[in-house]
């Protein structure tokens, strides 16, 4: 009788370790896997295989869980910045300057989001810049000021508070299949100007 009871207790223990442990492993591993699979280029992160059938199971699980539509491999590529040049997390209340080179693309946009994927609440309704909207200098250079307060030039409102992230989307770019080879100097740099 007693050995049977011990067997039942052991089976029950193994069952609950399997269920709870499996759940914990899954919940905790998805963000880790998302971080491992990305390629970092300066402040920007890219998931080169996210827009194709070659995405690995963890990436597919992340895409499914978050209702994200990656940019297709034949469509272009998206780069995400959640930190500035020094590696500090982007904050809506701070002021940043985004400037530098952009890879060749037929169309690009730079948008600002909250971490949950919704657009930042802004007084002007502007949430992104396209190449056609950027004011440029005589030499063709451009810069975007990202901060809550209005600023002359290319101002991208960042909302009053909380973390924000930037998404740079390049459509019809030859980079789609080879983003991992891109140098940081080929992408705009994100520099913190001030933070109250």
């Amino acid at each position: 009788m007693m050995p049977r009871v011990f067997t039942l207790i052991g089976l029950s223990l193994a069952f609950w370790i399997a269920i709870l442990g499996g759940y914990w492993l899954t919940v905790s591993s998805l963000p880790v896997a998302q971080a491992i699979e990305r390629e970092q280029i300066g402040s920007w992160w890219v998931w080169p295989r996210s827009g194709s059938l070659a995405a690995d199971p963890y990436l597919k699980a992340n895409i499914a869980a978050q209702s994200i539509l990656p940019i297709g491999l034949g469509e272009g590529i998206a780069l995400v910045a959640t930190v500035d040049e020094t590696g500090e997390a982007l904050e809506g209340r701070c002021s940043y300057n985004l400037a530098g080179r952009l890879p060749a693309a037929r169309f690009f946009s730079i948008g600002i989001y909250k971490p949950d994927g919704t657009l930042v609440d802004t007084p002007t309704g502007r949430h992104a810049f396209t190449g056609s909207e950027l004011l440029r200098t005589e030499t063709g250079d451009w810069s975007i000021i990202i901060q809550p307060e209005a600023a002359p030039g290319n101002w991208l409102p960042s909302g009053p508070d909380g973390p924000v992230l930037l998404v740079l989307r390049l459509y019809d770019t030859p980079l789609s299949a080879s983003a991992a080879g891109l140098a940081a100097s080929g992408l705009p740099a994100l520099v913190k100007v001030s933070c109250p």
Partner: protein, 179 residues
């Protein structure tokens, strides 16, 4: 004590199996993918435009694009999508029910100013190929879908906010349906 360790070790192996199964099954059962959401919310085999600037289907939608969705069920025949090229850049993304993109291209793939494509299962695409006249090859693109259902996401990009109406027109003149 030894038996207890064996049960704990068995539980850990079981946890690994549960974890791997969950990761593999999650995209198919979550019901939260872009394709699953559009299949559940929108009419099938018809193009539905986004009603406002904020996308109800996709998180992290591009604010410089208008989105239209054509959820498809390929049970009876292939899907046909026809779109005339205009000044508005467009892209076409084919999404499986598990959220994986199985094909994508932009309007640069247009032939004589028109995107004309058939989306079908491998069998349907083979059947179309059997009917082709070798002396007069078809000009349409053919995309084989690995799944019977899914969704096509069509984006029209606005270089400036004033191009919203032109982008909407570009999507409104795009046709998506069985045939």
């Amino acid at each position: 004590m030894m038996r207890l360790l064996i049960w704990i070790a068995s539980g850990c192996i079981g946890a690994l199996i549960v974890h791997l199964s969950a990761v593999l099954l999650l995209p198919n059962v979550t019901g939260n993918t872009v394709a699953a959401r559009s299949l559940a919310r929108l009419p099938i085999n018809t193009l539905s435009l986004e009603t406002d600037g904020s996308s109800p289907i996709i998180r992290f939608a591009d604010p410089t694009a208008l989105y239209a969705y054509c959820p498809f069920e390929l049970g009876t025949s292939p899907l046909r999508i026809v779109s005339a090229v205009s000044d508005i850049p467009m892209s076409f993304v084919f999404v499986a029910p598990n959220g994986t993109i199985f094909s994508a291209f932009t309007d640069r793939a247009a032939n004589r100013g028109v995107i004309d494509l058939r989306l079908g299962t491998a069998e349907q695409i083979d059947a179309l190929a059997d009917l082709d006249d070798p002396a007069n090859p078809p000009t349409e693109y053919r995309v084989a879908s690995p799944h019977v259902s899914g969704t096509v996401v069509i984006k029209a990009f606005m270089a400036t906010p004033s191009m919203r109406e032109a982008a909407r027109d570009a999507l409104n003149t795009t046709r998506c349906g069985l045939g």
